[in-house]
Subunit: 272 residues, 2 copies
């Protein structure tokens, strides 16, 4: 049976790509991807037919993959990170829906998860995602800016750790400035912020700074920005967002007065 | 040099565990983890010293790991998913900070990222995370409920896809009811919701339902709940959150009138 695999390869170094992703790529006859991502797996796809196109040509790639797999090929569409997170998986499903594809018909659809930038970048910064977080793409190429601004406002006001995907590009530089301003209305300028470029790739670059100073650094297409919550602190260059153990326990693991392990936190302090 | 690795093993089947995670576990002399997670890797840790404890004993595990690695052992602390996401990484860093550890001193700290439940569960549902999303833990064991409720309200009102971690346990059943009510004030009852239990493990169970009906299903400790945004739709049992291509392009990939590829979306419609 023909197959259509949509595969997340993780950050792009082999040590962080799962066996399931490798298998899906190796079993494919045809590999489809954005040129930059295809380069990351070029050692895995020798001898295969490759269809690579640039940015803004995602619909073309998705349609090619659907057409070829419906005609009988084994196709793997690759995304960096997780193909489900701002990646090709939703677009492929939209094209399948548009073309009236039904489950049980060829191709067999396989969605292979990967590690998204949240996780890869987070690990290079320490543990910024130790408590509730959200991901917001600052790209307004497909999303109206007011929708993005509203999400920034909501996330900042409710004290989420905030990961900004696609923060800027050569042409798109205004959004990260506005995002910084929106978040700064809700958090101190000393809030820790991590900037991670090309996590686990050759040009990896990690900066730990704070909300007041992020605009002094280079932020581009390959950067993920992680803004701490009001509880995030820095120790020895690591960003740490506590889960909340000290709300309930001493460092010896004993429950604080009035608290019971396994039961709801008894209120009295509002911090997380 | 002694090492302290904090390792995310992904959902818990070998095909989704990265080579970096396997390597960190195989190089350890001592493996530390929650009993359920230790079982998931038992074939990888034969012959090693194992320190496993139950829920609510996280501080004890973190302190054991820090103490043993400072004394010279190679220790791996394992979490399911990503150790940085509601996992052991932030607690280990807190204990290191508490004990006055500095970078350059033993142990050498290694943070090994993994695929979190967002990604593994998302892939089993389709592509629910195709646009902005957030993760909220419904556990109020360490976080005051008003903080959680405020985040639910913010995420629901700004139309994030919402992943609920730790939605319920045997004793903790009220939070998912309140969460459903908060979200339902902002989204139609027909909003798609996925319930994924034990993703990629033996007891895997996937339910696709909608916001009006989630409380009719079993939701427990091992369930992750993913609530769609107002743009999420279902095709053939797959949840799909569009990135927004149809705001700008036809299905032939041509830009709609007034729109330019690579440039900001020209407003006129407010949907994503």
């Amino acid at each position: 049976m023909s197959t259509l695999s949509v595969v997340g390869i993780g950050p792009g170094s082999d040590e962080h790509t799962t066996p399931a992703a490798l298998k899906a790529i190796s079993e494919a006859d045809v590999v489809v991807g954005y040129s930059t991502y295809v380069k990351l797996v070029k050692h895995l796809i020798e001898g295969k037919e490759v269809f690579r196109t640039g940015m803004t040509e995602e619909i073309e790639r998705a349609r090619f993959a659907v057409t070829r797999s419906r005609a009988g090929a084994k196709v793997a569409v690759i995304s960096s990170g997780d193909a489900g997170v701002y990646g090709m998986a939703s677009l492929v499903l939209q094209v399948l829906s548009e073309e009236g594809w039904h489950r049980g018909e060829p191709p067999e659809l396989r969605l292979v998860p990967g590690m998204t930038a949240l996780n890869s970048c987070g690990s290079l910064l320490g543990a910024p995602l130790g408590h509730d977080f959200c991901a917001i793409s600052l790209s307004d190429l497909l999303t109206p800016w007011p929708v993005i601004a509203r999400r920034l406002e909501a996330a900042a006001s409710a004290d989420f750790v905030i990961a900004l995907y696609n923060p800027a590009s050569g042409r798109r530089t205004r959004q990260i400035v506005e995002a910084q301003q929106i978040i700064a209305r809700h958090r101190p300028g000393t809030t820790p912020v991590g900037l991670v470029k090309s996590a686990y790739r050759k040009m990896e670059h990690v900066v730990l700074t704070d909300l007041d100073h992020i605009l002094e650094y280079e932020i581009g297409m390959l950067t993920t920005v992680i803004v701490g919550s009001t509880n995030t602190f820095v120790h020895e260059g690591y960003m740490v967002t506590p889960r909340g153990y000290t709300n309930k326990y001493t460092w010896d693991g004993a429950a604080l007065p009035g608290q019971t392990p396994g039961r709801s936190l008894v209120l009295g302090k509002e911090s997380v």
